[in-house]
C-alpha cells in the first residue's frame, strides 16, 4: 500500500499574494478527500502545487516515497498521480480514443495495458465507446468530464486529483460522476482528492474533507462531521 499524500507547511505565492499560506494536510489512502472552500481559497493552487505546475516557496510535499517539490510536471504521473484538470482539460483537437491513449502513453507496459485500459474505460462510460473515433470537441460537457476521468484512469493511478469536476454540469450528471468516483475508491482502492466549490455534492461522497480559507486550512476531518457542523457550513461552505 502506498503512503499517503502529505503536505507540510506549504506556501505558494503569486507575487505578494499567498495563495497557500502554510498548508499541512495528509490525504488518507483509499479514501475520497474533498477540498472545499470559496473562490480564491487556494483549492486549485493546492492541486497545481501538488502536481508541480506551480512551485511552492516553502514546505514539503511527498507521495509514496517521492518528493514532489521540484519534480518535473511530466514525471508526476509516473509516481501514480493522475490529474483531471479544471475545465475538463480534454484536448479537443484529438479524438476521444487518442485522448484516452495519451493517458496511458507514459507507461512502459503500454502495449499490454492500453487495450485493456480502453476496454475498461469504455465499459465504465458507454457514451465514450460510441464516439471513440470522433473528435473530442463533439462531446457534451458531461461526456468531456467522463473522458477526462477515463483518460486519468488510463495511467492506472493510485491517486487521482480532480479539479471542480462538477463545474458547469447538470446535477444529474454531477451525481453520476460522484457515484463513479465513489465506486472507484471502494472497488479499486483509488485515493481521490476532490476539489469542489459545490460542497454539498462533494461531501455526499467524500470520506474526509479539508476546508480552505484564504490559503489556510480552517477545518479538517470526517466528511459527515463537517457536513453536520452548521457554523462551519454557514461560514465557509455556503449551505
Amino acid at each position: 500500500m502506498s503512503s499517503p499524500l502529505t503536505l507540510d507547511g506549504v506556501v505558494t505565492a503569486y507575487g505578494a499574494v499567498r495563495a497557500l499560506d502554510g498548508v499541512s494536510l495528509s490525504v488518507p489512502v483509499g479514501q475520497i478527500t474533498a477540498v472545499l472552500g470559496a473562490n480564491g481559497a487556494g483549492k486549485t493552487t493546492l492541486l497545481r502545487t501538488v502536481n508541480g505546475l506551480v512551485r511552492p516557496s516553502a514546505g514539503t510535499i511527498t507521495y509514496d516515497g517521492h518528493n514532489l517539490v521540484g519534480a518535473p510536471v511530466d514525471r508526476v504521473v509516473t509516481y501514480g498521480i493522475a490529474h483531471v484538470p479544471e475545465g475538463r482539460g480534454v484536448i479537443t483537437e484529438l479524438t476521444v480514443e487518442e485522448n484516452l491513449r495519451l493517458g496511458g502513453l507514459w507507461r512502459p507496459d503500454r502495449r499490454m495495458s492500453t487495450a485493456a485500459g480502453l476496454d475498461e474505460v469504455y465499459a465504465m462510460f458507454p457514451p465514450l465507446a460510441e464516439r471513440r473515433g470522433k473528435s473530442a470537441d463533439t462531446l457534451s460537457g458531461g461526456e468531456r468530464q467522463m473522458l477526462a476521468i477515463g483518460r486519468a484512469l488510463m495511467s492506472r493511478p493510485t491517486l487521482m486529483l480532480l479539479d471542480e469536476p462538477s463545474l458547469g454540469l447538470a446535477p444529474r450528471v454531477t451525481a453520476q460522476i460522484m457515484a463513479t468516483l465513489k465506486r472507484l475508491s471502494q472497488q479499486q482502492g483509488l485515493t481521490v482528492v476532490l476539489v469542489e466549490q459545490n460542497a454539498r455534492s462533494a461531501l455526499s461522497v467524500a470520506d474526509t474533507a479539508v476546508v480552505l480559507n484564504l490559503g489556510k486550512v480552517v477545518a479538517q476531518g470526517d466528511a459527515g462531521e463537517l457536513a453536520a457542523d452548521e457554523k462551519l457550513r454557514h461560514a465557509y461552505l455556503g449551505f
Binding site: 511530466d74 482539460g89 484536448i91 483537437e93 495519451l102 503500454r110 470537441d137
Partner: protein, 294 residues
C-alpha cells in the same frame, strides 16, 4: 513549352514548395511560431551538401544524407538555444530572433562559402518521351523530387497520426499544460519538432538546388521561403495536407504563368496571392475552423 510540360515542371517545383511549407507547418503546429529563418537554415544545409558533392567529390546521396543530419542538429540547436528563451514572451520576440538568425546564417555562409552563385549537379539526366507528335521533356530529377516529397509527406503523416511519439507531439502542440500533466515531455518534443522541420527543409534545399536554373548562394533561398510560406498559408498553416496541395497549386500556376505570360510577374503574383488568401480565407483552404471552448 507546351501546357503539359508546364504542368509537370510546375508540379515538381510545387512539391518543393510543399516541402518548405511542410517544414513551416511542422514548427507552426508545435510552437505557434512562423520560422522566418527557415530559408536560411535550408541554405546552410544545402551548402553543406554542395560542399561535399562539388568541393569534395562525394556522391549526391552522401551530400543529401549529411545535409539532413546537419538539419537535424541545426533545427534542434536553434530551438534549444535561441527560441526556448523567447518562447513564452510576446509573439513578436521569436519572429525578431528568427529574422536575426536569418541574417547571421546568410552572413556566415557568405564568409565560409563565398557569395557566389554555385551550381549543384543534377542527379539524373533528361529523358524524352514521344506522345504522338508531342515531345514531352521529362527529367528524372523531377520524378525524384515528386517521389521524395510524397514520401516525406507520407512519413510525416504516419508519424503524427499513427505513432505514440506523433500523438505526444500533437498533444504537446495543442495543449502543452495538459500534455505535461499526462506525462508528455513537452519541451523535448518541441526540440524534436524543430529538428524534423529542418530535416524536411534540408531535403527541399538539395532538391531545388539540383533543378537546372537554380543556384546555391547565401541569399539564394529567400524566394523559396516566400513561396513555401505562401503555400503553407494557402493550406492554412496548420495542415500538412494543405501544405502539399498549396505547394502544388502554387508551383503549377507559376509555371503556367511563366509559359504563357512572363516570368517577370512571378514574385508579384505570389505576393498578390498571399494577400488575397489572407484577406478572403485567413484560415486557409484546408483548416476546419475550430472554436475552442474555454
Amino acid at each position: 513549352m507546351n501546357f503539359l510540360n508546364d504542368v509537370i515542371y510546375g508540379a515538381a517545383n510545387g512539391f518543393i514548395y510543399a516541402a518548405v511549407a511542410l517544414a513551416l507547418v511542422l514548427i507552426w503546429r508545435s510552437t505557434r511560431i512562423v520560422n522566418f529563418a527557415q530559408g536560411g537554415m535550408v541554405m546552410v544545409t544545402t551548402f553543406v551538401a554542395w560542399d561535399l558533392v562539388v568541393e569534395h567529390n562525394q556522391s549526391y546521396w552522401v551530400g543529401l544524407v549529411v545535409a539532413m543530419l546537419a538539419g537535424l542538429v541545426l533545427g534542434g540547436a536553434v530551438e534549444r538555444i535561441l527560441i526556448r528563451p523567447v518562447e513564452n514572451g510576446p509573439p513578436l520576440n521569436p519572429v525578431i530572433v528568427a529574422l536575426g538568425l536569418l541574417l547571421v546564417l546568410e552572413g556566415g555562409a557568405g564568409m565560409i562559402w563565398g557569395n557566389n552563385n554555385n551550381t549543384f549537379p543534377a542527379q539524373f539526366s533528361l529523358v524524352y518521351y514521344h506522345a504522338g507528335h508531342q515531345v514531352i521533356l521529362f527529367n528524372s530529377d523531377l520524378l525524384f523530387v515528386v517521389i521524395s516529397v510524397v514520401v516525406i509527406a507520407l512519413l510525416l503523416y504516419l508519424l503524427f497520426q499513427r505513432t505514440p511519439i506523433g500523438l505526444r507531439m500533437r498533444a504537446a502542440a495543442f495543449n502543452p499544460e495538459v500534455a505535461r500533466l499526462l506525462g508528455v515531455p513537452v519541451s523535448r518534443l518541441l526540440t524534436l519538432g524543430w529538428a524534423l522541420a529542418a530535416v524536411v527543409g534540408a531535403v527541399a534545399g538539395v532538391l531545388i538546388a539540383g533543378i537546372p536554373g537554380n543556384y546555391v548562394s547565401p541569399n539564394g533561398f529567400d524566394g523559396l521561403l516566400i513561396l513555401g510560406f505562401t503555400a503553407a498559408v494557402i493550406g492554412g498553416l496548420d495542415s500538412p495536407i494543405g501544405a502539399v496541395v498549396g505547394g502544388l497549386l502554387l508551383g503549377i500556376v507559376l509555371q503556367v504563368l511563366d509559359g504563357y505570360v512572363s516570368n517577370d510577374i512571378d514574385s508579384m503574383f505570389v505576393l498578390l496571392l498571399l494577400l488575397a488568401v489572407l484577406m478572403v480565407r485567413p484560415n486557409g483552404l484546408f483548416t476546419r475552423h475550430q472554436e475552442r471552448r474555454v
